[in-house]
């Protein structure tokens, strides 16, 4: 195992761990008042998840018409199953199955 790779992995891993762990100990997350900071933190979750969904879907959008069908069907499957059964697991699996089938049939 190359020493420079070990050094790189340890440096990045340590910094990432600090980013993830240390802020959980900061008092800013425990402020009770409904101030701008609390509203910022409350909005961070939905904003982050919307961002991650957008970022994960963007590379899948194809320039040619019709090539996006698996993406559209997968997304619709998530929405439809969520509307019928508001949970996380089933809509996720339904979206993946619809995407896989559509890719196989039309992709």
């Amino acid at each position: 195992m190359r020493p420079e790779l070990i050094l790189l992995a340890v440096a990045v891993g340590l910094a990432t761990w600090v980013f993830r762990f240390v802020p959980t100990k900061l008092p800013l997350s425990r402020a009770g008042a409904d101030g701008p900071l609390q509203r910022f933190l409350a909005a961070t979750g939905p904003a982050a998840i919307a961002t991650l969904f957008t970022a994960s879907v963007l590379p899948m959008i194809a320039p040619e018409i019709g090539k996006d069908l698996p993406l559209i069907l997968g997304t619709l499957a998530v929405l439809a199953v969520y509307a019928m059964r508001p949970s996380v697991v089933l809509p996720t699996l339904a979206g993946a199955v619809a995407f896989g089938l559509a890719t196989y049939l039309f992709g």
């Binding site: 990432t16 909005a43 939905p46 998840i49």
Partner: protein, 243 residues
């Protein structure tokens, strides 16, 4: 979408055990495995040994950063430049801890945050936050359960990818394609589960900022722009018009 989210059927409020967290990690396990598998394949292609590929997944545990690390290593980038680039890329994670703790409440324990914080990836954060938003009570064991499921899947996928190489899923094209949509589907389901009218501006702005940032600059900047600008949009309150 509604002002009062309907309680989901797969998130019982009282169960916050490690096992519940582990069960909640199933979509993550299924979504992580093929991506980690791809990483294992890409790592060996980039000249890393199986042990080196596993080292990255065990020690870094951050998908996008790991793929970028391969590009940097293969391109011969200096160590310090590679490290700084990857560290900056993971800077977005500083927002996750405070957001979770804000949702968890003032009495939530962080005694073992040094441990479960290790696993607080984008997806583990989103899954945990979604569960809390739907009424699941915070516990460190619960977050640990979500995290360890994702972590083990990531390591297993990397190892298998590095050992077997690509082509292992060639015989299962539907599964192969379906797994590639697992994470987007998970993010969408999570978003639906926590969405309410109050947070709608933050969501719309986040989506717009992500698209603009990605197309104009890079995917990494798009993600940071989406999270920060979206969260800032959420702090703006409509002024009430007095009669």
């Amino acid at each position: 979408m509604s002002a009062q989210p309907t309680p989901p059927t797969d998130a019982a409020p009282a169960k916050t055990s490690f096992r519940t967290g582990l069960a909640m990690s199933i979509p993550l396990v299924l979504g992580y495995f093929p991506i980690a598998f791809s990483f294992g394949v890409a790592a060996t292609r980039a000249g890393l040994s199986t042990a080196e590929a596993l080292l990255f997944s065990v020690v870094i545990f951050a998908g996008a950063a790991q793929f970028l690390a391969l590009a940097l290593v293969a391109g011969g980038a200096p160590l310090i430049i590679s490290a700084l680039t990857l560290i900056v890329m993971n800077l977005r994670h500083v927002m996750y801890g405070p957001t979770l703790m804000e949702k968890a409440g003032t009495n939530a324990s962080t005694r073992y945050a040094w441990l479960w914080g290790w696993c607080l990836t984008d997806e583990v954060f989103a899954t945990t936050l979604g569960a809390l938003a739907r009424g699941t009570r915070f516990s460190e064991r619960f977050v640990g359960g979500v995290g360890i499921g994702a972590y083990l899947s990531w390591i297993a996928g990397t190892g298998l990818g590095a050992v077997t190489g690509e082509g292992a899923l060639d015989a299962f094209p539907i599964v192969d394609a379906g797994l590639s949509f697992m994470l987007p589907a998970l993010f969408l389901a999570l978003l639906l589960s926590i969405l309410n009218r109050t947070q709608l501006p933050a969501v719309v702005v986040a989506v717009g900022a992500t698209i603009v940032g990605t197309l104009a600059f890079s995917p990494t900047l798009g993600i940071i722009a989406g999270m920060v600008v979206g969260a800032l949009a959420g702090t703006i309150r409509k002024r009430r018009v007095l009669p």
